[in-house]
């Protein structure tokens, strides 16, 4: 049994893991950088240790400092959360060497999944489906046209040495193959000094669907159903749901069994996620494995009724999984919104700052995992994820209805957030019809956002403005919170507004 766990992370995920520790009667040790002293995970922990300056490289990514805290605090285990050191096999190994249990897979399993080529070799042996392709360089146009005919158009030409889109060409038919092959080869030559290109089937408008697995240290691996993660902006997930609207029980079992084979081939233990691309005919192809807890794990928790962080800790303590594959049931529907400090009116640029007012939703069908509080100043140094709002219901429509209601209750004053984006998505008719793919969100954002001129609401705002002014009680951003005394100057802003002159 662990008596004390160090959480090598910050923000909402650190709070989430601290809560699990407290539920299991385990003391929670927080670490924090200079700008995170006032962060919620420090407030909620049993012990808290400073580990350095704001840049992650000097604090949250600093293995020696974190292991030093583990030693000083006497922690039995370390939970890495997601991001930071969570997929760093060197860290997992360093924990093992220091005699502290890393709550996650072994370093060797992480390495097996971390290297693309080693992963592909292991996966091919396990019969895992990849995107069809030649997987070796093409000698000639004739070989290319034969291979393309076999795979079927559209196809993608890719530089063997490549990356970042260089040497890549989408080819929709034989007519375009010759010129595309020449162009790709010369671009590959120029970019990488290597003109070798290969062919892969082009997946048009794919879905991104992932499968959660859990593996104990006694050889049992189970899958807990899929998550639909197609809503992305700049390859970042924005909103996820479980189950996927297109996955039926048969497809779930097939994907789940592949995911279990992937994990077993790598000797994987603890929680992990196998990501797939899914084409319009519902063929699925292995993409990669995330060897950690995912941001979006709560939606799986809700539809399965399991607590993944409890199970992670129990697995790390050497317990056997307390259920079998057949005991896992999927019931209801859950959708997660990632609430970011970013400005929807300014191309979703990060918007750190002080939270002057926070009205948080609750009630039926709502789970809220948050790392923020009223009065807290969001630091500029890290990922701008503030909280996750999860809506759930008997079915997808009800989960959507619940989320819209809760988003309307959610108010984060003083900084910009992407809350309005979720309202837009959830009301979109394509979204409601579950016609999702990885291009969905870019298309939605390209459509001009028509701001309906709501003159009634403007009239209401005019009256409210006068009432606020006459009550003389509105307050500036410095009113409450972290380190600053309150009081005394509350009405000054109003005066500033009503009396300012010139320079504007």
């Amino acid at each position: 049994m662990f008596k004390k766990i160090l959480i090598a992370n910050r923000g909402e995920i650190a709070v989430r893991v601290i809560r699990a520790c407290h539920e299991m009667g385990i003391a929670a040790v927080a670490v924090y950088s200079e700008v995170d002293r006032a962060s919620l995970h420090v407030r909620k922990a049993d012990e808290a240790y400073p580990i350095g300056a704001a840049p992650a490289a000097e604090s949250y990514l600093k293995i020696s400092k974190i292991l030093d805290v583990a030693k000083r605090s006497g922690a039995d285990a370390i939970h890495p959360g997601y991001g930071f050191l969570s997929e760093n096999s060197g860290f997992a190994q360093a924990c093992a060497d220091a005699g502290v249990k890393f709550i996650g897979p072994t370093a060797s399993a992480m390495q097996a999944m971390g290297s693309k080529t080693r992963a592909r070799q292991a996966m091919e042996k396990a019969g895992v489906p990849f995107v069809p392709g030649t997987s070796h360089g093409l000698e000639s146009y004739e070989e290319a046209s034969a291979a393309a005919a076999k795979i079927g158009y559209p196809i993608m030409l890719k530089a063997a040495a490549g990356g970042g889109g260089k040497g890549m060409r989408l080819v929709s038919g034989l007519a375009d193959l010759k010129s595309a092959l020449d162009a790709a080869r010369s671009e590959a030559e120029r970019s990488f000094g290597d003109r070798e290109v290969y062919i892969e089937k082009a997946i048009v408008n794919p879905r991104h669907i992932e499968m959660q697995i859990l593996a104990d240290e006694h050889g049992r691996t189970v899958y807990l159903g899929e998550r639909e993660c197609s809503l992305q902006r700049r390859h970042q997930k924005v909103m996820e749901e479980a189950p996927s609207p297109i996955v039926d029980p048969g497809m779930r079992r097939r994907m789940g069994e592949v995911a279990v084979r992937v994990a077993q081939a790598a000797g994987y233990t603890n929680a992990g996620t196998v990501e797939f691309l899914v084409d319009q005919q519902k063929h699925f192809y292995f993409l990669e494995m995330n060897t950690r807890l995912q941001v979006e794990h709560p939606i799986t928790e809700i539809v399965t009724g399991l607590d993944l962080v409890h199970l992670q800790i129990r697995i790390a303590m050497g317990e056997k999984l307390p259920f079998k594959q057949d005991d896992v049931t999927i019931r209801g529907h859950a959708i997660e919104c990632r609430i970011y400090a970013e400005d929807p009116d300014n191309n979703y640029f990060p918007s750190p700052g002080k939270i002057t007012l926070l009205l948080a939703p609750s009630g039926p069908g709502i789970r809220r995992d948050s790392g923020m509080y009223e009065g807290w100043t969001v630091p500029i140094d890290y990922d701008p994820l503030l909280a996750k709002l999860i809506g759930y219901g008997t079915d997808r429509d009800q989960a959507i209805a619940c989320l819209i209601r809760a988003l309307n209750e959610y108010f984060v004053g003083g900084i910009k957030t992407n809350i309005s984006l979720f309202r837009r998505i959830l009301r979109d008719s394509e979204y409601r019809a579950a016609r999702l793919d990885t291009g969905f969100l870019d298309r939605l954002l390209e459509r001009t956002k028509i701001k309906a001129p709501d003159s009634d609401a403007a009239d209401v705002a005019a009256i409210a403005a006068g009432i606020f002014a006459s009550l003389g009680v509105a307050s500036g951003p410095a009113r409450t919170g972290a380190g600053k005394p309150s009081g005394g100057q509350d009405s000054s802003k109003w005066k500033a507004t009503s009396r300012r002159e010139a320079l504007y």
Partner: protein, 164 residues
């Protein structure tokens, strides 16, 4: 109390008073049955002819935003008996302060004092949360003052430069 109110640039004349917990309200000459409670310092529970609204006030730098449900409005309130400070917000003449919309670090300064700038000319690049944002001039003019240097930390609302 008489107020001139501007909501997203739209002008209102508001006559408002309170006696014995009752509000008297006349908006642009029309009497309205209004009742208000300040639930929290920045949250107003407002009833207008039995319609209920929750209004949130938000102060971003020198600006006041009011949220009616999920709609945000930029609000300004003036005392019309004061001769100063009214009706110039939308005016393009006179110097304009360029302020930081969020805290961050100045990565590059793109112009120098005395430069001619056009609307959209880059003035500086500010970085926050690993993303860079170019601060642009809102109007044509001469860059009168630059108040930042490369590497400086800025807070939301800090004046970065003044365009004449």
């Amino acid at each position: 109390m008489l107020y001139d109110v501007s909501i997203d640039g739209r002008k209102y004349r508001l006559d408002l008073s309170q006696a014995d917990g009752q509000w008297f309200c006349r908006l642009n000459g029309i009497d309205l049955e209004v009742d208000a409670i300040l639930a929290r310092p920045d949250v107003l529970s407002l009833r207008i002819a039995n319609r209920a609204y929750e209004i949130k006030a938000e102060h971003v730098a020198a600006e006041l935003h009011l949220w009616v449900g999920s709609a945000r409005f930029a609000a300004e309130v003036y005392d019309p008996r004061s001769l100063r400070g009214r009706g110039r917000a939308a005016d393009d003449r006179g110097p304009i302060k360029i302020t930081a919309a969020m805290p961050g670090k100045v990565v590059r300064v793109l112009a120098k004092e005395g430069d001619q700038v056009a609307p959209g000319s880059g003035i500086a690049v500010v970085e926050a949360m690993k993303m860079q944002n170019e601060i642009k001039s809102p109007k044509k003019g001469i860059l009168q003052k630059i108040l930042i240097t490369e590497g400086a930390a800025v807070n939301a609302g800090d004046v970065l430069a003044i365009v004449e």
